[in-house]
Symmetry: C2
Subunit: 224 residues, 2 copies
């Protein structure tokens, strides 16, 4: 938890805390089923429980956390059915965002994406899961941002928020990173060629193979 409570208030405290937790969850800083409490988080961050609880409430309504019967918050556990649903929605939304991004792509945007992809390749071969996950998240997010549709991006990020923890427990597999990187290269090739439909299918392939790996992991029951 690397949080600076002393930072100037560009946003409200709860907004900063929300953004911080959201980013951490998306990149897999927490394990599925892990419990969080507003008071302990607040003490850790050096603030009162007030802004923390509002941030946690928001994450709960978005489906990232769930409230147990014993009134304790924990990271949501995915069922195979949940994963199927999320994967289907992801193919729709991320497919559309990727295609539109390809259509709106400029030389500057393409250069930025290319650089992120260059960061991603060594991260994948290094086998460092944390580094790879963060690079992967920013890579995808940057593409979707280029679509110019902020609501679409926020809805996609909500889905990442839910699958993030499960991705983290599955991705230490070096094979996963390698095959995923193959799809990313396909995305780059299609982007430079300006083939929007190819970009879309490459992104969808990436999503679906990732879902396949996660599903295998869920079936093994290792996260319970």
């Amino acid at each position: 938890m690397t949080f600076k409570a002393t930072a100037l208030r560009r946003d409200s405290l709860q907004q900063q805390i929300y953004d911080h937790l959201r980013s951490d969850i998306m990149t897999g800083a927490f394990k599925p089923g892990e419990t969080l409490s507003s008071r302990s988080l607040a003490a850790e961050l050096g603030v009162s429980a007030m802004p923390v609880r509002e941030a946690l409430t928001r994450l709960t309504t978005e489906g990232a956390l769930e409230l147990t019967t014993s009134r304790t918050l924990r990271l949501r556990l995915l069922t195979p059915e949940d994963l199927d649903e999320i994967t289907a929605i992801r193919t729709d939304l991320e497919g559309r965002a990727a295609k539109r991004a390809a259509e709106q792509m400029t030389a500057e945007s393409l250069a930025r994406i290319s650089k992120l992809n260059d960061d991603l390749t060594p991260a994948a071969s290094s086998g460092n899961a944390d580094r790879y996950l963060k690079a992967n998240a920013t890579y995808h997010a940057e593409i979707y941002k280029i679509s110019g549709w902020p609501l679409l991006l926020s809805m996609i990020e909500r889905l990442w928020l839910i699958v993030g923890p499960s991705i983290r427990t599955c991705v230490p597999d070096r094979d996963h990173m390698a095959t995923s990187q193959g799809f990313h290269d396909a995305v780059m090739a299609a982007l430079t060629k300006g083939d929007a439909e190819a970009v879309r299918t490459a992104i969808i392939d990436d999503i679906q193979t990732a879902a396949k790996d996660i599903r295998a992991f869920l079936a093994s029951g290792q996260d319970h």
Copy 2:
């Protein structure tokens, strides 16, 4: 505002308030640009400002409300670009939900939908906008619920939350209700025939013609 604070706490107070406001916004109880404040709402509901502000915060992060520079909350105003984005996402998500609902349809479900459609027809011809909007919202929601995918439904409802107020200002047009009802009849016909793809296209047609009407209204600038 018909809210019973004395109700038994099936859920937390903030959850009840959130659900209540959400439903009101979706069915157009508030006008675009209308301002809301936590204290006045709290006084109106007979509770403290605490649960109300958490509900309003949630609605803000979902894009239904926006925080002005003068620290006041108001219902989001849609730009034509916003509408294009939302409409595109709606066709993806509601199209998928409708198709899947058609595939999962049972005799009981079909009867329930058919009854809701029967409620909808007289509401459309009556010209009563409030009645029509509520019947329309429950009709669509009931179909999407049958898909068996709760996350998909909640994401769709988030979109309704954003377009809801604008639909309310546009729908008093009797022609709109009539043409929309035509699509609903097409949905029913396709559902009874078991043609999932036809259900999907009928829903998409409904969404896109509604968007066309809203766009015309936005262009007239009547909501500013």
